[in-house]
């Protein structure tokens, strides 16, 4: 066994979740290799620390939880489509209003004719008889 083989099996060696020939192979390697020996000690220490910090799974009334889950599934099946539908309709409405607003703005820009003196004088330059009169 080389170092790479041993490294991948160290966890299982520590947890004693390994077949006998592999275990023997690791032990033989560790006797010769100080790097892997050090790693084994460090890994054991790390796992001991991790093991001391455990989270209790909250206790539950499982019958009630199953019933609640089934009810939720039932509700989601019936009303589950509502959320995406409302979202889609909201998007369509926002788009429609924005488009309408944009169109109105555009129309106002086109129809707006400034009646300033500058414009009149500019038009006079074209020599339109009606305008001169």
């Amino acid at each position: 066994m080389n170092c790479d083989d041993v490294k991948n099996d160290l966890y299982f060696y520590i947890k004693n979740d390994i077949d006998l020939p592999t275990k023997k192979g690791i032990e033989e390697h560790i006797e010769k290799c100080s790097v892997c020996k050090e790693l084994l000690n460090e890994f054991s220490k790390t796992l001991r620390v991790v093991d001391k910090c455990y989270v209790k799974v909250p206790s539950k009334n499982w019958d009630y939880f199953a019933e609640k889950t089934m009810n939720k599934i039932h509700v989601k099946r019936i009303y589950g489509f509502l959320r995406p539908t409302i979202g889609f309709m909201a998007c369509v409405l926002i788009f429609a209003f924005s488009y309408r607003y944009y169109q109105l703005q555009k129309l106002q820009t086109i129809t707006y004719v400034p009646s300033t003196e500058e414009t009149v004088s500019y038009l006079v330059d074209f020599d339109i008889p009606e305008l001169n009169e």
Binding site: N8, I73, K76
Partner: protein
């Protein structure tokens, strides 16, 4: 027919809910989020129940759905954390096996406990998944490989990398 499917599925929930709940909780460590993810998992399973061909066991199938929901949960959490100035959602205080003697010890143990959980949280996603599944949930290598759809060798390598990273992250913690 619908009623039959519903009854069958209710049996599945009753049979597997504890294992699925424990599995989700080992990642999320928050009761409310676990409730929500577990229910979402069973809802997704219900939707896909007709398509389930029994190629893997029901357990593995449900865990596969659960792990996808857990990933979605963490993605959402990461996204919304941008908008949070302060993250109020503290990981529930962990119990340490030691008998707690003084207030100072309680604080110290809480700090160590939080540091350990933070170290596990900070592992790269694949390493965290593999480590939690193996070390906390006690799944076999072949089960993990099947759930994550990776080779067994990759599972072993990820476990090694996870412990190696934990070793570095927890370097300052003396043995309790």
């Amino acid at each position: 027919m619908k009623v039959k499917v519903q009854n069958n599925f209710e049996e599945i929930i009753i049979k597997h809910q504890q294992k699925i709940y424990k599995f989700i909780f080992s990642f999320v460590k928050n009761e409310n989020d676990t409730d929500e993810i577990a229910q979402q998992t069973f809802f997704n399973a219900f939707k896909g129940y007709k398509k389930f061909r029994g190629e893997s066991s029901v357990d593995t199938w449900l865990i596969k759905i659960a792990i996808n929901n857990i990933r979605t949960h963490f993605r959402k959490k990461k996204f919304f954390s941008i908008f949070k100035v302060l993250d109020n959602e503290e990981i529930e205080i962990k119990d340490l096996k030691d008998d707690l003697k003084s207030a100072e010890e309680v604080v110290k143990n809480k700090m160590i406990s939080n540091k350990i959980n933070k170290a596990i949280e900070d592992l790269p996603a694949r390493q965290k998944e593999v480590f939690v599944m193996k070390h906390i949930d006690g799944l076999s290598i072949s089960e993990i490989a099947d759930i994550l759809e990776i080779a067994e060798g990759s599972v072993k390598a990820s476990i090694f990398k996870a412990i190696n990273n934990l070793r570095k992250l927890l370097g300052g913690i003396d043995e309790l």
